[in-house]
Subunit: 78 residues, 2 copies
Amino acid sequence: MKARVIVTLKNGVLDPQGKAIEGALSSLGVPGVASVRQGKVFDVELSLADKEAAREALTAACEKLLANTVIENFHIEL
Amino acid sequence: MKARVIVTLKNGVLDPQGKAIEGALSSLGVPGVASVRQGKVFDVELSLADKEAAREALTAACEKLLANTVIENFHIEL
């Protein structure tokens, strides 16, 4: 089973990398970009057939390793 | 307008970061993870109202800065 996990910074958490990208895009002449926030995406291949078990395993993976839940949200797409 | 850009490695491109995550998840006892590939996600706020103009601006942003199109694919969600 394939799954995608998206980890993004919580609202209010500063994102200097996103700010740098904003500045670079404006220097490069890309129009209309008001703000950018960067996150991470993980494409996971699972050997589990059951959707609920997969969601549980991915939640454990996010809480233990993939996301810092103090400053980041995670979203699991199955 | 809000948009999300997802940048992932092309098939066949080695992903040592993903491999390290696979190993760490198995050490942490997360079950059923067969493979992991890591990518980047950009949440972009645009000041453009027109969808086509937004897609054009984001394609330019990806080609110029956000993605290395030799080894990465990008996908734009509007």
